[in-house]
């Protein structure tokens, strides 16, 4: 047992810190700090800064231009990027499609797409969920039929995150309706410029625009856009879902959120004392602090295991469940700390009145509502429990 990082890992942490200190523009970090929707420009500029350093494709091996980091180094990078209020790296091309192409793609696909992902030339989005296929993803209905050298795609995808910025979408499509659900799905790459595609925004609970629905009507794409084999799509989807599960706990974000709540609760008064000294509020903070402290170690234990075994196991679902619950509790505390001053509708918050609440927390209620998504997306917490029940408890 040894909870300390190696000398090399500590040196790496210093390197990451120095990098962020010297290279992360102030306007980017303050946008992240304010918790407002990030513009495409901000995300692209941030990606370019990382790409220049060779740190953009954090999960890619060196042969594909990634930094070749160990899971622990990735964890350190994540932790430090949170502390410096760096944005999250947009995952669809880099963390999702990239590794899929590396594992299942043809040489031609790798040569063409991987450099374009790295350079930011292509912005990818994900075509998985459908109105009738959420947690039960394998029941998806979007149909792809082969017609000579082409696929003809008809159907609808939804919850397509940041699709409004994207050039391309990777889709799970039904290619064989006559076999077991999981065995009739293929993974197909689609250019969003193709005729027959319509993308419509979905306005979220707090008023923001993060996700979209995508309609496909007789959309024709080249047959060679198939990744892997025909009807291998479910295997690829599962690989994608389990491939990058470190960082799923969001420990870094929660640590930051805890510090922010405490800072806020030192300023707000209740019964003549700082809110942080109010026994009821302080007890809730202390409880989540204990859970987060344990979560940090649970996260490291699973990183250690992933590093040792080469891949994270199904028990990482624990990180998703507990990590999101902790983060949601912190968002609730941040909302409550300010009471009605956390209530402004984000659209009503302007540069001029951001200072309505201390430390730009005027949108804490909006953040609370937005954050309810985390226990739903990426496999709802109930689906994570199913995974644990089946794969770990063997029930």
């Amino acid at each position: 047992m040894d909870l300390t990082f190696t000398k090399e890992e500590q040196a790496f942490r210093e390197e990451v810190r120095t990098f962020f200190k010297e290279n992360l523009p102030e306007d980017i970090s303050s946008a992240v700090k304010a918790g407002s929707e990030l513009t495409k420009d901000i995300m692209e500029r941030y990606h370019a800064i990382l790409a220049k350093k060779g740190w953009l494709a954090v999960t890619w091996p060196k042969e594909y231009g990634g930094p070749g980091w160990t899971p622990v180094e990735r964890h350190i990078f994540d932790e430090e990027s949170c502390k410096f209020y760096a944005p999250r790296i947009v995952p669809f091309g880099l963390a999702m499609l990239g590794p899929v192409l590396q594992k299942f793609g043809s040489q031609e696909q790798k040569d063409y797409y991987l450099p374009r992902i790295m350079s930011g030339e292509d912005w990818w989005c994900q075509g998985y969920s459908e109105p009738g296929a959420g947690s039960d993803l394998a029941s998806l209905k979007t149909r792809a039929v082969r017609d000579g050298d082409e696929w003809v795609i008809n159907g609808q995808k939804t919850w397509t995150t940041l699709g409004q910025h994207a050039d391309k979408i990777f889709c799970l499509c039904r290619t064989d309706p006559d076999v077991k659900q999981q065995e009739g799905i293929s993974f197909i790459l689609v250019d969003l410029d193709t005729p027959g595609i319509e993308m419509r925004p979905i306005k979220l609970i707090e008023g923001g625009h993060e996700v979209n629905e995508v309609f496909f009507t007789d959309v024709r794409v080249p047959y060679k856009n198939l990744v892997g084999k025909e009807n291998q799509g479910w295997t690829i989807a599962k690989y994608l879902l389990t491939h990058e599960r470190t960082g799923i706990a969001g420990v870094g974000f929660s640590m930051l959120a805890l510090e922010e709540v405490k800072a806020l609760a030192r300023k707000v008064m209740r019964n003549g004392k700082p809110l942080l000294e109010d026994p009821l509020f302080a007890a809730r903070i202390a409880q989540v602090e204990v859970d987060l402290e344990a979560m940090k170690i649970t996260n490291l234990r699973m990183l250690f295991k992933a590093q040792k075994q080469g891949a994270p196991g199904p028990e990482t679902s624990i990180l998703k469940i507990k990590g999101t619950v902790i983060n949601q509790e912190l968002k609730d505390l941040a909302r409550r700390a300010l009471g009605p001053s956390a209530a402004p509708f984000p659209g009503a918050i302007t540069e001029g009145n951001l200072a309505l609440a201390p430390e730009n927390h005027a949108n804490n209620a909006a953040r609370y509502f937005n954050n309810r998504k985390t226990s739903i997306f990426g496999g709802s917490n109930e689906i994570q429990r199913n995974i644990l029940s089946k794969a770990v408890l063997e029930l």
Binding site: E293, L300, E315, L388, S389, L395
Partner: protein, 353 residues
Amino acid sequence: MDFDLTEDRQMLSDSLNRFLADKYPVDHRIKVAYQEPFHDPALWDQLAELGAIFALAPEDKGGFGGTGFDISVVFESLGRVICPEPVLGALMATRILSHTDANQEALLSGSMRAAVGLGEIEAPYDLSSIATEATKSGDGYTLTGRKSAVYGGQAAHHLLIAAKLDGKLAVFRVDAADADVTGYAMIDGGGAAEVIMENTPAVLVLEDAADAVQDAVNAGILALCSEAVGAMEVLHAMTVDYLKQRKQFGRPIGTFQALQHRAVDMLTEIEQSRSIVIKAASELDGPDATKYCAMAKNLIGRAGRLVAEEAIQMHGGIAMTWEYPGSHYAKRIIMIDAQLGDTDYHLSRVMAA
């Protein structure tokens, strides 16, 4: 970073687990835990011979371990069989004595059993509210006061008693034969004692002992939390087994999602418990030990209650019986919360930290 046990600790863990599985089958445990002296003196000797107590002290004090991880390994093994041997007293005694030059051979070899008396009936956890008083008497001292629920006190040769000396906390050694010691079995098995002292002769062990006593409490908390993790894992495994075997409505009840998800929630909290124990173990000899031990005890108290209550509920009636081993695990896990500060007490300690 390394979350594997060192080879030495793995060997210690393996040999303890083998020994305890062999010598402490659950029916034997249930028998000795409730009949005087509420443990098995012969097995105590064998456990000590295996080095279970030597492992709790560092080499310069005569042991071969003494770190947080050593303590954790020993008590997790004890927890797996809900062992009623009074090892906690030995641990807390060696932690206190390690702040002195006392020879600990008899304690670590198990030939002398010690129990530590801190809590009182009106101040079960709060060290600053201890009322027992020490008075100078000739060359020595006498103690007056009452120590409650002294774990292992019924089987101890020596009692280490925390008392006020000129307003400050000090630790004294009392010969168990000199005090009014009433032993009893606890609801979860194993023994404790009420110790009543009235001008009872005592030997000063350590003056100005607040830090040493806190250190002993921290080590005791780590031990109890480790014990809880061992016991929770076994009880959870029993529960999952039962879900697979028990059939109702024509199928194993483990096929019902309502129960599956609850079994998973138990797993999640047990993993979180193991994590906070690792953290507390790694911090035991550092400046923030009290804070991390408080965190551990707070989390284990909550997780323990969930695991114990859910295990009973999902088993149904069978877990309400004395005969079913799981019920004894559930009792131990719940009652660990009442030792050295419960979950609410330690939440307030985290808040104050």
